[in-house]
Amino acid sequence: MTTEPKKNPPLGRVIVITSGKGGVGKTTSSAAISAGLAKQGFKTVVIDFDVGLRNLDMTMGCERRVVFDFINVIQGDAKLKQALIKDKRVDTLFILPTSQTRDKDALTKEGVDKVLTELRAEFDYIICDSPAGIEHGAQMAMYFADEAVVVTNPEVSSVRDSDRVLGLLSSQTKRAETEGSDPIKAQVLITRYDETRVENGEMMTVEDVLEILAVPLLGVVPESKAILKASNVGTPVVLDGPSAAAQAYEDAVSRLTGKEVEMRIQGERRAGLFKRLFGRAS
């Protein structure tokens, strides 16, 4: 409300990071993707929809600076501007933490709509870190989205839950309910991909997962020690020095912004195969 956009009007795109299954890497991905977008110069905010648990602040490393939260804003106890925490590393990055004391019912559709509308007028990208499950909290996180990143591990229950979430995205969202509007653009982000186990036949391949889910691939993030290290120190992995995981997230971010980037897994290995399979996709 206070700052007029000086350059171009902001893109105002809402992207939900969702999965159904818990613990697959939604918060890790939300942190990495938002930091990656901000690093590319996009004004980005990442919102924690996991009301009651609040993990995003720790992953982003701003847990000691939380004063007001998303629920305070929805309930009118604080203004949005007061609740946004400005990242200390990238100046186009902001965090909207969630409440630890309320429950998910505090997320009302009207409240979420109001906050997102205000954010759309100021930010290029609004990244919504969804809670696990397919209940109210997850539905609120996806309802107003323009795009979805479905985080999936190459493992049966994760793929199954991703399929359910894809169903919800195409039926229980504003875009699905509004006649004449384009459906949510959903893409799969495969995380915790372990190439050695895939080669041993212990883990499904990227092709297997895509064949089942039948949606475009945003990227493949390898199982990586860099992720635990980054979360230990409270730094999104893309801001924490070079690693295969950081590279994978950077590539995914570029694809989100519409750039064509060759699909690669852990550096150059098998690039040929993936180029042939997915290079021209999307």
Partner: protein
């Protein structure tokens, strides 16, 4: 430059950083003052707005209260946007 990169400084291991961060955070969350914090900050903000308004016309969002919780002490940062005469300027 390259010489120094070999002499690994006693850079803290990330697991230790994780533990330190958790200890500080949880100390705040567990203490009763941690719960009370959430209550007094909005009120403090309202009072500051009211006090400034006695002298300068400011809006509800022109006072920004920020907190940084520390190990030994926490710091409170209060930013007040005062209106300027004439053309308003963005930060």
């Amino acid at each position: 430059m390259s010489l120094f990169s070999f002499t690994r400084k006693k850079q803290p291991k990330s697991a230790q950083t994780a533990k330190d961060r958790l200890q500080i955070l949880l100390a705040h969350e567990r203490s009763s003052s941690g719960a009370a914090e959430a209550d007094y900050l909005p009120m403090l903000q309202r009072d500051i707005v009211a006090a400034i308004r006695k002298y300068v016309p400011i809006g509800d969002t022109d006072v920004d209260v920020r907190m940084e919780r520390g190990d030994q002490m926490s710091s409170l940062e209060i930013n007040i946007d005062l209106p300027r005469i004439g053309k308003s300027k963005d930060s």
